[in-house]
Amino acid sequence: MSLLDTRERKRASPTPPPAAAHPGLGRRIRAAKWSYLYLAPMAVLLLAFVVYPIFASFGYTFYRWNGIGAPGNYVGLANFRQILGDSIFWGAVEHTFVYAFVLVPVQLLLALALALVLNNPKLKFALFFRTVYFIPVVTSAAVVGVVIQLMLANFGDSAGSLLAKTGMTNGHIDWLGDPHTALAVIIAIGIWHTLGYNLVYFLAGLQTIPAELYEAAKLDGCGPVQSFFRITIPMLRQVGVVIVVLAFIGSFQVFDLVQVLTGGGPYFATEVVNTYIYHLAFGGSAGAAAQPDIGLASAASFLYGLLLIVFSALQVLALRGISRRRAAADR
C-alpha cells in the first residue's frame, strides 16, 4: 500500500494541475464520464460482493442467528464479549500469527535465494526449474490436502516408519494427529505450497534491475557478495516491501490448507482464525458454538479484521520509517 501511495505522490508532484483550469466538481465529473463507465464493472462487483458484505456482517454481530431466515434475536454486545472470553479464539489468533511469522521469513529467504540462482542468464533450463518450483502454487489446496494426508498416513513404507527404521523416532508418528507436530507440518506444507508465488515476484523484481549496474560494479572491483548487498538489496527494496506485505496478508487469511489437512484439530492445535470463524458460521469442531451462529462468527471476524488493520498500519509505518531512514542515509 505504501508503494502505491508514494507512486501516487511522485506522479502528482512533477506535473501539478494547471492553476488556471479549475473547473467545478460537476463539470469535472461530467468530463470523466467514460472513466466512471470503465471503472463501473469492477466497482459494482467489488462493492456488491466484497464491501457490502463486510458491512452487512457487521450488522449480524448484534444478533444470535443460525443463518436461516432473518436475524431476530438481538443480543447487543454479547457476541463480542463471548468471543473475547473464548480461549479457543485467542489460540486461533496465536496459531495464525505463528503460521505467518514462521512461514513468511523462511519462505522469503528460500524464494530470494532460489530467484538469485534462477535469474542467472547463464543458467541452463532456468525455465524448467522455474516451472518445477511453481507447480505447487497451481495446485488446489483440496488436492494438496488429499495427497499429503494419504502420503502421511501410515501405509507401508510411510515417512513415519522410514524415520523409525533410521532410529530417529520410536515407531509410528501421526504427523497431523499429534498436537505437537500438526501445526509445524502445516507450516512446512504451506511453505512448499506457496513458495512459487514469491519466487516469481522476486524474479520479476530482479529483472527490473539494469544489468549495467552489475557490470559497472564489476569494473569497480565489486565481488558478487558486495554487489548483492550494494545493488541487489537496495534495488529490490520497493518490490520487497510489496512482497512482504502480500506474504503476510496471504498468511493471515490461511484457511483451505488447514481445513483440508486437519480441520483445525487435533484439540484445536491447528485452529487458525479463519477455520474458527468457519466453524462458528457453519458448525463443526469449534467449542464455542455447537450450533452454527452467524452472529458469533461475524463478531469474531470483525475483531480479527480490526487486529489485522492495526497490524497492517504498524507494518506500513515501520517499513516507511525504514525506507525514509535509508533514504536519508543515502543522501
Binding site: A48, L127, W192
Partner: protein, 289 residues
C-alpha cells in the same frame, strides 16, 4: 618456463567452476525432486492396484499399471460433467476478470477523476480485510438476484474476489506504457474507446496473460465458492467439489481418488506451462514502476 607453468592454471579454474556449476544443477534437481514428489507419488498411486496402494507406502512406482483407475474415476464419479463445468466456470471467470480489471486499471492509471483517491484507498483497505466469513451476505445477495444454483453466480462471486489484485497489476502495467502513444493517437482523432480497445489493450498482452492465468488458476482450484453456490445442484459441481464428494462416497477407493487428483491437476498445470513465459514478464512489467 614461465609460460609453461602458467598454462594449466586457466584449465584448473574452468574445471573448478564447472564442478561448482554441476553441484548447483544437482542441488536444483534434488530440490525440484522434493518439490514435485507429492505429484509423482499421486501420479504413481493413481496407477496402483488397491493392494499395491496400501503396501506401497511412499514408493511412487506401481508394481503393475492399472490404467482402468482413470476410466473408472471418470465415469463412476461423473468427472466428465465436472470437467465441463470447471472449464465453463474458469473461462467465464477469466473473461469477466480480464474485462473488469483491464478497464478499471486503465482509467485508474491514466485518467484523473473526482473520487479516484478515495476509491484507491477503499480498494486497498479491502485487501487487508478477512473475506471468508462474508459468504452469508453474498449468499443472500445471490439468492435475491435469483442466481442461486447457476454457474453465473459462481463466476460472478469468484471474479469479484480476484478483482483488486488484477486491477493493481493492470494499473502498474499501464503506467509504464509511453504516454506519447496516446497523445499521438489523440492527435490522429482517436477517441477514448479507440485508444483503450485498439491501442492500450492490444499492448497489454503479457498482463492479460498474467491476470488471466491467475484468474484461471484460482477458479480452477476454487473449492468453497462453487461448493456453497451449487450445493443443491450436484450436476453443477466443479472438479474440486466433485472430488470431495467422491471421497465421502468412496472412502476406500484411494487409487481412484489419486486418479481424480491427477485429472483435476493436469489441465491447469498444462495451461500454466504453456502461458508461463508471459507470466514473469507480465509481473516484471507491473513491478517496474
Amino acid at each position: 618456463m614461465s609460460t609453461l607453468s602458467q598454462r594449466p592454471r586457466p584449465r584448473r579454474q574452468l574445471s573448478l567452476r564447472q564442478g561448482r556449476r554441476g553441484l548447483l544443477y544437482l542441488a536444483l534437481l534434488g530440490g525440484g525432486l522434493i518439490w514435485l514428489y507429492p505429484f509423482l507419488w499421486a501420479l504413481g498411486s493413481s496407477l496402483k492396484s488397491t493392494d499395491g496402494f496400501f503396501s506401497g507406502g511412499l514408493n511412487p512406482i506401481p508394481s503393475e499399471f492399472h490404467w482402468s483407475n482413470y476410466s473408472e474415476a471418470w465415469t463412476q464419479a461423473d468427472f466428465s460433467k465436472f470437467f465441463v463445468n470447471t472449464v465453463l466456470f474458469a473461462t467465464g471467470t477469466v473473461i469477466v476478470t480480464l474485462l473488469a480489471t483491464s478497464m478499471a486499471g486503465y482509467v485508474l492509471a491514466r485518467t484523473d477523476f473526482p473520487g479516484k483517491k478515495i476509491w484507491l484507498g477503499l480498494v486497498g483497505v479491502t485487501l487487508f480485510l478477512p473475506h471468508g466469513y462474508t459468504i452469508i451476505p453474498v449468499f443472500d445477495l445471490i439468492q435475491r438476484l435469483h442466481l442461486l444454483n447457476t454457474l453465473w453466480s459462481v463466476v460472478i462471486v469468484q471474479s469479484a474476489g480476484g478483482m483488486v489484485f488484477g486491477t493493481f497489476l493492470f494499473m502498474g502495467y499501464f503506467t509504464t506504457i509511453d504516454r506519447g502513444l496516446e497523445d499521438a493517437a489523440r492527435v490522429d482523432g482517436a477517441n477514448f474507446h479507440q485508444i483503450f480497445w485498439r491501442i492500450m489493450l492490444p499492448l497489454s498482452g503479457p498482463m492479460l496473460a498474467t491476470v488471466g492465468l491467475f484468474a484461471c488458476i484460482n477458479a480452477w482450484n476454487s473449492f468453497f465458492i462453487p461448493l456453497v453456490f451449487t450445493l443443491s445442484r450436484p450436476e453443477l459441481h466443479t472438479l474440486s467439489v466433485g472430488m470431495f464428494n467422491f471421497i465421502g462416497q468412496n472412502s476406500t477407493a484411494w487409487t481412484l481418488v489419486c486418479a481424480g487428483s491427477v485429472i483435476t491437476l493436469l489441465p491447469i498445470v498444462l495451461i500454466f506451462i504453456v502461458l508461463q513465459r508471459f507470466f514473469i514478464n507480465g509481473l516484471a512489467g507491473a513491478v517496474k514502476q
